[in-house]
């Protein structure tokens, strides 16, 4: 009776030490927690390269990647060749995304508002959305050539389907009660659209736009890989062909930051225009 607690005490104390650590980790503020994980990952990576016998050609060390990042950022801030290439890519993405979001919004409206659209057209778009659309890059190059057109159209092609599908779904988000309420107030169908269905659809539309902007980045960069010539994706391909993987990593990081910044802009717009839904979506 008295001995059993003393026997079990050591294991109990060990367990509490582990739970103490995990408790401390859970209580870390998010930025600190993310930083901790990044530092550990980079440390392991550096160790693998320094002492793990992995060739720097196959896996560049974080330090050399860091050097390249500084180099790339320097070139970007001084407005050199790389800045021009990045600007081309940004234009492709933004043009493609604007095209996709406006056309996609209109198509989504039509699908969502009509029985025929929902029945006959929506399933086809869902099929295309589920397919690996990136495989269409060669087709777009064959159709639109090696210039900027094939790239921004590919970006548009990648991002239009999530916009269409989410807009169409959003158009049916208003509840039967809400529509009944509007009818009882003698609202016209335009008023039901503008004051009820459209605001109700906004959270869906923004969900589509967020997927869309990320897809547009992928589409533009992939088209540059294959379509070649100009753009930031082309710079990645060139660096890779030189087996300058530290450079490749640095360029990919810049592309990630670009994607993140564009995503952030769409999120800002969402917070402004669909503020009332923020508690549900975040």
């Amino acid at each position: 009776m008295t001995s059993s607690p003393t026997v079990h005490q050591p294991t109990g104390r060990k367990r509490s030490r582990v739970s103490l650590l995990s408790g401390w980790l859970d209580r870390l503020p998010q930025p600190a927690a993310v930083a901790l994980v990044v530092v550990i990952a980079l440390g392991l990576w550096q160790l693998l390269v320094s002492f793990g016998g992995v060739s720097e050609i196959i896996l560049p060390s974080p330090l050399s990647v860091g050097g390249q990042i500084i180099e790339v950022v320097k070139q970007l801030t001084t407005g050199g060749f790389l800045m021009g290439q990045l600007w081309i890519t940004v234009q492709e993405i933004v043009l493609g995304f604007l095209l996709a979001s406006s056309v996609g919004f209109l198509i989504g409206l039509w699908i969502g508002q009509t029985e025929f659209g929902r029945k006959a057209v929506m399933p086809l778009f869902v099929v295309v959305e589920a397919s690996p659309k990136i495989a269409f890059v060669p087709v777009f190059i064959a159709w639109f050539g090696f210039g900027i057109a094939s790239k921004f159209l590919m970006a548009a092609f990648m991002s239009i389907f999530p916009v269409i599908i989410n807009t169409a779904a959003g158009m049916n988000a208003a509840s039967a009660e809400e529509i009944r309420l509007f009818r009882s107030m003698r609202a016209s169908s335009w008023e039901i659209f503008w004051k009820l269905k459209f605001p109700r659809a906004l959270p869906f539309i923004f969900a589509g736009l967020k997927i869309g902007i990320v897809s547009a980045v992928t589409g533009a960069v992939a088209a540059e890989f294959i379509g070649g010539g100009v753009g930031f994706g082309e710079q990645v391909r060139v660096a890779a062909s030189r087996i300058a993987l530290d450079r490749v990593f640095a360029l990919i990081l810049v592309l990630s930051m670009l994607g993140l910044a564009l995503f952030g802009l769409v999120t800002l717009a969402q917070k402004k225009f669909a503020f009332w839904d923020s508690k549900k979506t975040t």
């Binding site: 809400e178 309420l181 107030m185 008023e191 004051k195 669909a274």
Partner: protein, 261 residues
């Protein structure tokens, strides 16, 4: 018929059947509602009480029979009517005051809505929500949201209020308070009130006349006049007469149930 009392709704031989499955939702409904009175429609699920209210509100059309409001056939939602549903359905992207002004905005435009703002504020004060003008619906409790919905219904100064289980989602104490508020508002504006409910005490507390309904087919089975003095307070529920009325309504509903079984 008493010539002094105006009739608001006059419904004769109304039948409603839904095409799919050939269900007869309502059969041979006839009722006259004197202007300024409060009536309730009570009955089990499927008795067609909500369908009847929707027809009166012009949201559904009857299959046969006539529905007149102030002598005119009801074709679409009448201007004189304010409707409230079980769910308040405030729009979450509009502040409380913008929600209340929505009917004005839809019927007369944004400018008219701005002009009506003092009336909306007065209504909010009346239901005890003053200071909540700029709050958003997700900051309101269920009872507060229903109060705001009442204001939205009243902003157009309707002569007839149609309430479809308006406080069904609220707790009993809050519901009784809201019922008294409806009574007060109706008396103040001389409005006719038609309430769909499945609470017997609520029906007796509110009504001048209770219409007990039965199913298969949906119909009015009994009409019970509630002769209790107005304005009614919650204390009236302890009155033996109140108890007798609830028993009568309950028995009427039981009989309706028996014939169906």
């Amino acid at each position: 018929m008493d010539v002094d009392v105006k009739t608001s709704y006059r419904i004769a031989d109304l039948t409603k059947s839904f095409d799919r499955a050939g269900v007869v939702a309502l059969q041979d409904v006839t009722l006259d509602v004197p202007q300024g009175s409060i009536i309730s429609l009570i009955g089990p699920s499927g008795c067609g009480k909500s369908t009847l209210l929707s027809i009166m509100g012009g949201l559904l059309s009857q299959s046969t029979g006539t529905v007149e409001l102030f002598g005119a056939d009801v074709e679409g939602p009448p201007r004189e009517v304010g409707i409230m549903f079980q769910k308040g359905t405030l729009l979450p992207w509009r502040s409380v005051i913008e929600n209340i002004l929505l009917p004005i905005e839809i019927q007369s435009g944004k400018k008219a809505a701005r002009t009506a703002r003092p009336q909306a504020e007065a209504l909010l004060t009346m239901v005890g929500l003053s200071g909540s003008e700029e709050r958003f619906p997700d900051e309101l409790s269920g009872g507060m949201a229903q109060r705001a919905a009442i204001c939205r219904m009243l902003i157009t100064e309707p002569q007839v209020l149609l309430l479809d289980e308006p406080f069904g989602a609220l707790d009993e104490l809050t519901r009784e308070k809201m019922d008294l508020e409806i009574q007060r508002i109706a008396a103040a504006q001389g409005a006719t009130v038609i309430v769909v409910t499945h609470s017997i005490p609520e029906a007796v507390l509110l009504s001048d006349t209770v219409y007990a309904m039965a199913t298969h087919p949906g119909r009015i089975s009994e009409v019970i006049d509630i002769d209790l003095p107005r304005p009614r307070e919650l204390s009236i529920m302890e009155d033996p007469a109140f108890g007798r009325y609830t028993t009568r309504v309950r028995r009427a509903l039981d009989r309706g149930h028996d014939t169906a079984a």
